[in-house]
């Protein structure tokens, strides 16, 4: 997918040298071959702080080619600081690529903490930025032991955490980073996507790549793979509810859609307002209504 172009003479196409990109690609292949397994890789220094999406950035830079169209989103929006900065960096270092805000037009989507509302297609790849790759970190501090637990698919202690949640609060209180079992073995931390987005991983048509730059791990949910959020038989997983106190589904203040994930904020006059978190989805709904 890459083409060597030396327009920006100081750096090779994609900022990383070819050897680094090759290593990341090999890691991706391994991650796809073992769904959900966290493959270690030598995360390179990037010209931005670790924790600002360097894992996702390295994935994107390694798979993008001059004929690709890129979309970068941060919490559903194309215009957030993180998305704008990453997009302009990739534009600067990958000569010839196109960028877009429109989900349908992109074939590489780098995202921070959201999966687009619009169902993705087989020809699209979504790259998620991950701060903490290991779901077991909350129950086991030693990475050595965590690796053994993953190997033996021993996730009982994560389930105990869910049990304790139900005992204390009558429901599972994990709002994002919901532990999800991939292909009946490895449990992943699907990055801080809301619970709303977790079902989109299951049998996804698009390849989902997850990269943690600081923690130096890459993992993947390959297309058409089972992704099952951990839960009990009689306390099933459920997504966020956007019903108001009367049980009515809230709708977006801007486009009127009542099927999307909503962000809540306070308007200038002081009342609560809800809007689509996915700005491209919101735009599309407005276009469909002819506005």
């Amino acid at each position: 997918m890459t083409a060597m172009r030396k327009a920006n003479a100081a750096y090779p196409f994609g900022f990383l040298d070819e050897y680094a990109k090759k290593e990341v690609r090999r890691t991706i292949l391994k991650a796809i071959a073992i769904p959900g397994y966290q493959v270690p890789y030598s995360s390179r220094e990037m010209p931005m702080g670790r924790g600002f999406g360097t894992g996702g950035l390295q994935l994107t830079l390694s798979i993008i080619g001059a004929d690709d169209t890129l979309k970068v989103i941060d919490q559903g929006s194309d215009d957030s600081v993180n998305a704008v900065n990453l997009r302009s960096f990739i534009e600067m270092t990958c000569d010839g690529i196109d960028t877009t805000d429109i989900t349908d037009e992109a074939n590489v989507i780098q995202s921070r903490h959201r999966i687009p509302e619009k169902p993705l297609r087989e020809d699209q790849v979504i790259v998620l930025q991950v701060p903490y790759p290991d779901p077991l970190v909350v129950v086991e501090p030693s990475e050595d032991k965590r690796k053994i637990m993953h190997g033996e698919a021993d996730y009982s202690r994560l389930l105990v955490k869910l049990y304790e949640d139900i005992v204390q609060f009558d429901e599972i209180t994990i709002s994002h980073r919901y532990p999800t079992r991939i292909n009946d073995h490895y449990v992943i931390d699907p990055s801080p996507i809301p619970r709303w987005d977790v079902p989109k991983l299951n049998q996804s048509k698009a390849l989902v790549l997850l990269g943690a730059g600081r923690e130096k791990k890459i993992y993947a949910v390959p297309p058409y793979t089972d992704a099952e959020p951990l839960a009990f038989d009689d306390v099933p997983f459920r997504v966020e509810s956007f019903n108001d106190e009367n049980g009515q589904r809230r709708c977006c203040d801007r486009c009127g859609d009542n099927t999307s994930f909503l962000d809540e904020f306070t308007s200038s006059v002081g009342n609560k307002v809800y809007q689509c978190s996915d700005s491209d989805w919101c735009r599309e709904q407005l276009v469909a209504k002819g506005e």
């Binding site: 190997g151 021993d154 009982s156 304790e164």
Partner: protein
């Protein structure tokens, strides 16, 4: 009687070991530290058999290697040499030849362990009910209300107030923590249970209650147990057969009554004579 566990020639050496380790240590030489290489011989050449529903006592002074025996059998430690076979219905397992996943499976599904220190057996960061739930979840039970019901039953059985089941074990007294630990070990009805100094450090009335509980469980569920203790009273009350260890070796074994009434080895004689 049906055999459930067979241990043959079990040895455990801490340290690098040398050819003279076993020759230059033992009760006759009054040491378990090898004078040549400084390794500690915790167990040497230990063999024992355990039958279904039987309680076997392991007695000995501190450092005699009695806890090391159960730690090896429960996979907390790796033995230096030896063989152990676990007979489970029609299957049998060569314990020390299993891989990590198989060991974990046996630990979670077939064995139970109660440690002297509740901190080893319980997770103090989660509720007592959660501790029992952990063991049930390891055993592939995935239904919340069933788990809860079973945890309540077990705590009732071990006389822990069930309206305190959602409290942290740290809020409980030592005796109650020990009972929660026993409930946790019993959660999956294990055919084999290891008890490592379960009553040490508890006051006499609590000790008596816990020993009663253990006997009741043995009679109800026909659980085979290995009870490690340095307390003659515990052995007298619980164990049908007893082995006495010193410096990693078995120095005497047989029926408990026989050993307590007619000890043969000088050390056992001293031990029995010095009982308060």
């Amino acid at each position: 009687m049906e055999k459930i566990l067979e241990v043959r020639n079990l040895s455990k050496v801490f340290g690098k070991g040398c050819p003279n380790c076993f020759i230059k240590t033992g009760p006759d030489l009054d040491t378990n530290i090898c004078p040549d290489c400084g390794s500690v011989v915790a167990i040497h050449d230990l063999s024992l058999d355990l039958y279904k529903g039987e309680i076997l006592g392991i007695m000995g002074e501190s450092g005699s290697g009695k806890s090391t025996v159960v730690k090896n059998l429960f996979f907390d430690q790796e033995p230096t040499s030896g063989r152990a076979t676990f007979f489970d219905d029609d299957k049998q397992y060569d314990l020390f030849g299993l891989n990590a996943a198989q060991k974990r499976h046996l630990r979670n599904h077939r064995f139970g362990m109660v440690y002297q220190n509740p901190h080893l057996g319980l997770n103090f960061g989660i509720s007592s009910g959660g501790n029992i739930a952990e063991r049930l979840l390891m055993n592939d039970l995935r239904n919340y209300s069933e788990i809860r019901e079973r945890a309540r039953e077990l705590l009732e059985r071990t006389e822990v107030l069930t309206n305190r089941m959602d409290e942290l074990p740290g809020n409980f007294s030592g005796g109650m923590q020990q009972r929660v630990q026993i409930a946790k070990a019993l959660a999956i009805n294990p055919p084999l249970l290891f008890l490592d100094e379960v009553t040490t450090g508890l006051d006499l009335s609590v000790q008596a209650k816990i020993l009663d509980l253990i006997l009741e469980i043995q009679q109800e569920m026909n659980t085979a147990m290995i009870v490690v203790t340095h307390d003659l009273g515990v052995v007298r009350l619980l164990a049908g057969r007893t082995i006495v260890m010193k410096y990693g070796r078995i120095i005497e074994s047989g029926l408990t009554d026989q050993i307590l009434e007619d000890p043969q080895h000088a050390y056992t004689q001293r031990l029995v004579a010095s009982a308060l």
